[in-house]
């Protein structure tokens, strides 16, 4: 499994997940720079993502929607805040009501930093997502972007050990 580390920070509502891929940094960057490749990884199989606009440059925007099995569309946008090709980029990710992709003011925005560094035999990727509030985190989960069964492992110890 390429995932090497996961950190849940309850106080800042931040999820940090680290993974190692057997491909050079430039190849990983290309997954995010090319919307056709990004679509193949961003949404779960039950809710595929479609990017209708995509500009991975500082100040650039991406517009996407995810389609539920019932055909319902969930609209979202990125605002790219920093780009350091091919090592790192940062963006805000928020919700839109419809295909105008206008941000919905009272819906939450997450702040994301994706960083890639060369390691022996490939790339170490660190994905960090921070949510402004518990509501933001919950909303993201309600959007139907979640796949798979919730981990049934007893997380209580890990949680309170923080």
């Amino acid at each position: 499994m390429p995932v090497t580390d996961v950190t849940h920070d309850l106080a800042t509502r931040t999820l940090t997940i680290t993974a190692e891929f057997a491909a050079p940094v430039e190849r990983i960057w290309q997954v995010y720079a090319d919307p056709r490749q990004l679509e193949r990884v961003f949404g779960p199989p039950t809710h595929p993502a479609t990017f209708v606009e995509h500009d991975l440059a500082p100040g650039g925007r991406a517009h996407y929607f995810m389609t539920s099995p019932e055909g319902e569309r969930y609209y979202g946008w990125w605002k790219v805040t920093a780009v350091e090709e091919p090592k790192r980029f940062a963006f805000d990710d928020g919700f839109a009501a419809d295909d105008s992709f206008a941000p919905v003011e009272d819906l939450p925005v997450s702040h994301n930093v994706y960083a890639f560094e060369a390691i022996d035999g490939g790339t170490r990727a660190t994905f960090t997502s921070t949510y402004d509030s518990a509501e933001a985190l919950q909303k993201v989960l309600e959007m139907g972007v979640v796949e798979g069964a919730t981990s049934a492992t007893d997380q209580v110890d890990a949680l309170v050990a923080g």
């Binding site: 509502r13 891929f21 779960p44 919730t150």
Partner: protein, 116 residues
């Protein structure tokens, strides 16, 4: 809609309660076993009133319950409430694990970047 708002308020209260180190420590103790509020207070280098406030925040978040036993108030942790937060973060983690597996898959089947 009210049910949704109530639920979101509840989740906010959960995160607020867990964002403090002392409250996490109190919770850890009361999850292990019932504990009187005065015994809890004696464990911390702070006033009884301060510890009581922390206990009250945990109680409002549904993470801790109290019952009277003679003159004592005994506190115990609510494991189910804690599980709901843990499962929320676990769900998000599952999403990420899925994405990372798909990236890995894409790299395996399509090792060379497309030139646009």
């Amino acid at each position: 809609m009210d049910a949704v708002a109530d639920n979101e308020d509840r989740v906010d209260a959960l995160f607020h309660a867990l964002a403090d180190r002392t409250r996490r420590d109190i919770l850890r103790r009361v999850l292990v076993g019932e504990c009187s509020v005065s015994a809890l207070a004696a464990s911390y280098d702070m006033s009884f009133a301060s510890v009581q406030k922390h206990v009250a925040v945990l109680e409002r978040a549904g993470l801790l319950s109290k019952r009277h036993h003679g003159r004592e108030r005994l506190a115990h942790g609510e494991v189910e409430a804690l599980r709901s937060i843990a499962s929320m973060l676990a769900e998000l983690e599952d999403l990420w694990r899925g994405r990372i597996a798909r990236i890995d898959d894409l790299l395996t089947h399509d090792p060379h970047a497309h030139q646009e």
